[in-house]
């Protein structure tokens, strides 16, 4: 100890590390460090900025800054027709596009008053696509969770399974992501040839793949050490902060909109709502794995219904000519979407149909004035759509209550007081998708 040393000096004599740590933490108040985990950072699920005040390795204060992906989707929708709004809202929460589309279409259908007239086959297709999306979203969530904890294999496993789901999406809707498949009044097209076989193959293969992932992680001591008792948020916290989804179910409350306030015929399917009681990151991981297995059950029931003998008239778009999209799309011989019968009709046979098609596509249908709030259980929580109509062809206001937006507020509560590495784990267990947060 010379006179020139700066800062506090601790004499360590051996086996007194506790004393040193205590002394250092008492003195640490002048030495707080403010660190910016800036918007470009691979571990923050998109462009999320975290400003951490650190005391050594402990996070004393955490402030999330969002808005780096704000796209003005809601305002853009006010300048498009109701049907075109689907292509916009689908890009909000880009890991679960079908859920965005479905909640918006449910809102439009409730405003139109045609909720009961949506064809049953369309409803089954919606449920099928939603559950497939749930699996792909959870696979990505678990994959990136593994990546952020440093386990690259988990990412590769997750991506491999997600590719299977994206293949099915491409087969059924034409696109891997951002499908614009669910439209007000039904869905855009029926199942193509080979879809049922593809789905059955998927159902055959997936349980083993999920089992592989479980075998890797469920009892992995490193994984358990990084996720048990990390990012704790109990029931009172969840209620106060408006947190829904796996984070809420990890506290022990079995709240799932598919069971409590069923939509799209979910009350007719048999499935359970996985719940854990540990309120930590590990519990949420277990819930996501279980939810994928439940989704497989629902998909299997959907496939049975879709493969069953069909009545003579089984459309996938509502029959109402004032609302339903006029063309019955199907993949033509050249691989492009087409509906040759419809085109022959409007071009060759009926002028009125041509005018009608034209008006419906360019102007869109009119929705009676009013407001509704519909919600679905997206993989991240309750996704709600508050749609206001002034009687016109465009949404007057379409506001989406995104689950990640509300869930991300709880990040401070989860991560303050923990280590920096747990901040990453906390962000990953909330599984925010910044497109939904910022819209």
């Amino acid at each position: 100890m010379t006179a020139e040393t700066e800062g506090r000096v601790y004499n360590v004599g051996g086996e007194d590390w506790d004393e040193v740590v205590n002394a250092a933490s008492e003195a640490g108040s002048e030495e707080r460090l403010i660190v910016n985990m800036g918007p470009q950072h691979p571990s923050t699920h998109g462009v999320l900025r975290l400003i951490l005040t650190l005391d050594g390795e402990t996070v004393t204060e955490l402030r999330p800054v969002i808005g780096y992906l704000h796209t003005g989707i809601e305002k853009n929708m006010e300048f498009r027709t109701w049907t075109q709004g689907v292509t916009f809202c689908t890009r909000m929460d880009y890991l679960s596009p079908i859920f965005n589309e479905t909640v918006y279409c449910l809102a439009v259908e409730r405003l139109l008053g045609i909720e009961q007239e949506v064809p049953p086959r369309a409803t089954v297709l919606r449920v099928l696509m939603m559950e497939l999306n749930r699996i792909s979203s959870h696979m990505m969530a678990i994959g990136t969770f593994g990546l952020e904890l440093g386990a690259t294999t988990v990412l590769l496993y997750g991506l491999r399974e997600r590719e299977k789901v994206l293949d099915l999406f491409e087969l059924i809707s034409g696109l891997r992501m951002n499908h614009a498949y669910v439209r007000p009044g039904g869905v855009s097209q029926d199942l193509p040839h080979g879809a049922l076989e593809g789905l059955r193959e998927f159902l055959r293969v997936m349980p083993r793949q999920i089992g592989e992932l479980r075998a890797l992680l469920d009892a992995n001591p490193i994984y358990l050490a990084r996720t048990k008792n990390v990012a704790y948020l109990d029931l009172a916290g969840c209620m106060a902060l408006g947190v829904t989804g796996p984070v809420l179910r990890a506290t022990g409350l079995p709240w799932d909109l598919r069971k409590s306030q069923p939509y799209c015929g979910y009350e007719t399917y048999e499935f359970d709502v996985p719940t854990q009681a540990t309120s930590d990151a590990y519990g949420r991981y277990l819930i996501r794995m279980d939810e994928m297995e439940e989704s497989l059950k629902i998909i299997s029931q959907c496939v049975d219904r879709l493969a069953a003998k069909r009545p003579k008239d089984d459309p996938v778009m509502i029959d109402d000519p004032k609302i339903g999209w006029p063309a019955r799309l199907a993949v033509g011989a050249d691989g492009l979407g087409n509906s040759p019968d419809h085109i022959a009709h409007i071009m060759g046979e009926s002028m009125e149909s041509l005018i009608h098609h034209f008006k419906l596509v360019t102007e869109g249908f009119r929705v009676p004035a009013g407001q509704v709030y519909t919600s679905v259980e997206s993989p991240r929580g309750e996704l709600g759509c508050h749609a206001v109509s002034d009687g016109g062809t465009r949404p007057f206001r379409a506001h989406f209550r995104d689950p990640s937006f509300s869930n991300l507020q709880s990040l401070s509560a989860m991560a303050e007081g923990g280590m920096i590495a747990d901040v990453i784990a906390a962000v990953a267990t909330i599984d925010p998708v910044m497109g939904g947060v910022d819209r």
Binding site: N76, L241, G242, E363, T393, H399
Partner: protein, 242 residues
């Protein structure tokens, strides 16, 4: 004009006919058939009569669990010395959903009651949604709060208005902490000032942004796009049908 195709309701009021009459009685905002100047749609097909709907107000009984909510709320308000008619200016039941229109002075009290009363127990607030109605003088800015009761599996909606000249609404952060970011977002996009909010700053737009983008008087901000000699105008300049 035979009466064969008019259903015989036996002298009872026919709801469909009444609805039709109501609709015809609504104030007409814009009309136009051929020769319209504003929309450029000369087909005459759109009808082109856009009516501004009147303010709805549903009379009792509301149906389903809505009556119970209203009753318990009235009881709670009386215990606290407020009248139901004052604290809830309008009740609207449409499309199976209950909306309580609450004047801004009573918002916090009503929300607290809805949250705490054991038979109401709306524990979860699902955020704030702002809407801007530029023609509704004195009530331009609306803030809509959907509430959810997990205990009773119910939903209700609170709607508060504020004029453009005085866009202030009490903050609900003290009752529902989740409204923190939602109120910041509504301030950011509509200019609604939530009094009592701990830190009302911009959340989505950059901190030094001027204007409130989701208001109807704020332009969409698109630019025209040139493609192979043709120029496509931005969305706000394109033809509109309503």
């Amino acid at each position: 004009m035979t009466s064969e195709n008019v259903p015989d309701t036996g002298g009872q009021p026919d709801p469909a006919a009444e609805a039709g009459e109501d609709r015809l009685a609504q104030q007409v905002e814009r009309t136009g058939m051929f020769g319209t100047e504003t929309t450029g749609d000369t087909s005459g097909y759109g009808g082109l009569q856009v009516r501004r709907p009147d303010l709805l107000s549903t009379a009792r009984p509301y149906g389903s669990y809505f009556d119970e909510i209203a009753d318990r709320l009235a009881e709670g308000l009386e215990r606290d010395g407020a009248a139901f008619a004052e604290a809830v200016s309008r009740v609207v039941v449409e499309r199976g959903e209950l909306t309580l229109h609450v004047p801004r002075e009573h918002l916090v009290a009503v929300a607290r009651l809805l949250r705490d009363d054991p038979s109401l127990k709306f524990e979860m607030c699902l955020g704030v949604s702002g809407v801007h109605y530029p023609w509704d003088a004195g009530r331009e800015l609306h803030a809509v709060y959907p509430l959810l009761s997990i205990t009773h599996n119910r939903r209700v909606r609170l709607e508060v208005t504020a004029p453009d000249s005085d866009p202030r609404i009490p903050s609900l952060v003290s009752v529902y902490p989740t409204c923190d970011w939602h109120e910041r977002e509504t301030w950011d996009f509509f200019g609604l000032i939530f009094e009592g909010h701990p830190a009302l700053t911009r959340i989505e737009m950059p901190d030094d942004w001027k204007g409130h983008p989701q208001r109807k008087d704020y332009p969409l901000g698109g630019i025209p796009v040139e493609y192979r000699g043709a120029t496509v105008p931005p969305p706000e300049d394109r033809r509109a049908y309503s």
